[in-house]
């Protein structure tokens, strides 16, 4: 009865590699939920964070909203949404997005606030328009921190997306929930380790994005 035995048994069973309950299917479902939730959260958090950070206004309101959002229990929200809306993708997306918006919003705002003001002053004095200042002067300098915010949001989504299985959807949570129900601990451990592996892969992906997207001038001086 060793966890490592569970893991090796789970992965060496060829039945786990095919069909609608196979690892490839569950992984791609999980990845789908994660990307969708992250995209929604970024679509909300990034513009709001960038604009409030650029103008330096609304920081207090932001942290209030973010704290409130963090206080919401994700699982409770899922149950509530399912009761209100019924089964489907939407009641799963709402709690995941709610979970991911605060780290993106707050880090983006803070990252923009922490940009050295003198290049911004120089840019303005050269006659750069405000949008250009935001996108071409502040954003490149704030990018490492902003990517950090996106990364922690992504990792939280990866590990929390397992809740989709509670409302009859797929993803890696399926193994955990079904395993618990069937007392099939091999499955539970397998599902958990896949989730952990995906979180690690997320870290690697963000490391690569940072490497490519952040200017060497910023990476080294920061």
């Amino acid at each position: 009865m060793n966890v490592l035995n569970f893991v090796s048994d789970f992965f060496s069973d060829s039945a786990h590699w095919q069909g609608y309950d196979g690892i490839p299917t569950r992984l791609s479902e999980h990845l789908g939920y994660t990307l969708e939730a992250l995209a929604f959260a970024a679509a909300i958090g990034l513009p709001v964070g960038l604009i409030t950070g650029h103008y330096g206004r609304g920081g207090n309101a932001l942290s209030l909203i973010a704290t409130a959002a963090r206080a919401l229990p994700t699982f409770g929200l899922l149950v509530l949404m399912t009761m209100l809306i019924g089964f489907g993708m939407l009641p799963v997306m709402i709690p995941l997005v709610t979970l991911a918006v605060p780290p993106i919003l707050i880090t983006t705002y803070e990252a923009m606030r922490s940009v050295d003001p003198s290049p911004v002053d120089a840019a303005r004095g050269m006659g750069m328009a405000e949008t250009r200042i935001l996108l071409q002067v502040e954003l490149p300098a704030a990018l490492p921190l902003i990517l950090g915010g996106l990364r922690s949001a992504a990792i939280q989504i990866v590990s929390t997306a397992t809740i989709a299985a509670y409302v009859s959807l797929g993803g890696l949570g399926r193994y955990i929930i079904d395993g618990l129900y069937q007392r099939d601990y091999e499955k539970v451990v397998g599902g958990a380790s896949l989730t952990a592996g995906m979180a690690l892969a997320t870290l690697a992906v963000f490391w690569a994005i940072t490497k490519v997207a952040v200017s060497p001038g910023v990476r080294r001086s920061a």
Partner: protein, 361 residues
């Protein structure tokens, strides 16, 4: 109120310096010119036209802007930093970069720095990049806010000299803010001394500022040695240089004897090319056996005619013999002059200095 009822006419194609104590409104005044600060009252005319008549970003692109810590974009290479305004104006990438390369050379930056990032440059180099970036689109006006105050005195002097050289070549209308009166006197064609509240205490060429400060505030701001500093504006050309008390290191006994009572208590020994080696009392010199190591130091000589009376006086004061050594452009001894003679020249210069000439460096 940061700046109250300031009225100033900035001459074209020259350097106007705004100087004054911290918080007196220099930056505010400068930033009103490119509308980074909008005046609550009054107008700013550029070539007779109200600056508010054109869109603010068009106005700003026609004025170079240099700030204290250069404010370079850390994510862009040096060459792309410099190419910023040309790119804003819609120039092609190649044309902008070619222009940027040209400017790197103009401000004395090695071409090998083009692909570096700002963090890889020293403070002085970054400041040069800041100046190059401001000049990139060849704006007629250059606004500079304490551009050299964050670098050490040696680098600062180099940057000041460079700015004067560039200005000689380009003839921009420069407004330069500093709190350093020495810097103001050195680079300004006109100097505006401001007091708190942005009130104008005096607006005059630097030599006039030093010779006749308008009031106690300006006098105090100029500091205790303004008399000495004013000497920078008088040429050493008028000094009577003595050539008699100079002997070459290979001089004969007769030559030494002939020059022993040439009017100076010491003789200046030069090498065979005429470059000064040091001072000696005449009776300590033996023909053919002059020991260079036993000569008294001649200190730093001044370039006759080119440097100011201040440099000449400085040489004389530092010289162990009390005599200053004048050299020509090649460093050969052109003559010697006593403190006494320099003092006479200073008195003479003061007498006929109704409008002293432009600063000599």
């Amino acid at each position: 109120m940061a700046v109250d009822r300031l009225s100033l006419e900035i001459p074209d194609r020259s350097i106007t310096v705004l100087v004054g104590p911290s918080g007196c409104g220099k930056t505010t005044t400068l930033r009103m010119i490119n509308r980074m600060v909008e005046p609550s009252e009054g107008t700013i005319l550029i070539d007779g036209v109200d600056s508010r008549r054109q869109p603010v970003n068009i106005l700003r692109r026609s004025m170079g802007y240099v700030i204290q810590n250069a404010g370079l974009f850390q994510h862009r290479t040096i060459i792309d930093n410099i190419a910023t305004v040309p790119r804003l104006l819609g120039w092609s990438k190649d044309k902008s970069r070619a222009r940027a390369r040209e400017l790197m050379e103009r401000v004395g930056l090695d071409a090998s720095l083009a692909k570096r990032y700002p963090y890889q440059l020293s403070g002085g180099q970054q400041q040069r990049v800041g100046v190059a970036r401001a000049l990139a689109a060849d704006p007629p006006v250059l606004l500079m806010d304490e551009p050299f105050s964050a670098v050490d005195p040696v680098v600062r002097k180099g940057l000041q000299d460079e700015l004067l050289r560039i200005q000689e070549e380009l003839g921009k209308t420069i407004v330069f803010v500093t709190h350093d009166i020495d810097e103001a006197v050195k680079i300004g064609t006109m100097v505006a001394v401001l007091r708190t509240g942005g009130r104008l205490a005096q607006f005059a060429p630097p030599a006039e500022l030093l010779s006749s400060p308008a009031d106690a505030f300006v006098e105090d701001f100029l500091g205790a040695d303004r008399g000495i500093r004013r000497l920078s504006f008088f040429s050493s050309a008028g000094l009577d240089l003595l050539t008699a008390p100079i002997v070459a290191v290979d001089a004969t006994a007769q030559q030494i004897a002939a020059r022993a009572d040439a009017g100076a208590p010491y003789l200046l020994v030069t090498d065979v090319d005429g470059k000064p080696l040091g001072w000696s009392e005449p009776d300590r010199l033996t023909a053919g056996r002059i020991d260079r190591g036993r000569l008294l130091s001649h200190g730093r000589p001044f370039v006759a005619g080119q440097e100011s009376l201040r440099a000449a006086l400085d040489c004389a004061v530092l010289s162990p013999t009390g005599w200053a050594v004048a050299v020509d452009g090649e460093g050969r001894a052109a003559g010697v002059v006593s403190q006494q003679a320099i003092g006479d020249a200073i008195r003479g210069a003061h007498e006929d200095s109704v409008s002293p000439p432009k600063a000599l460096r």
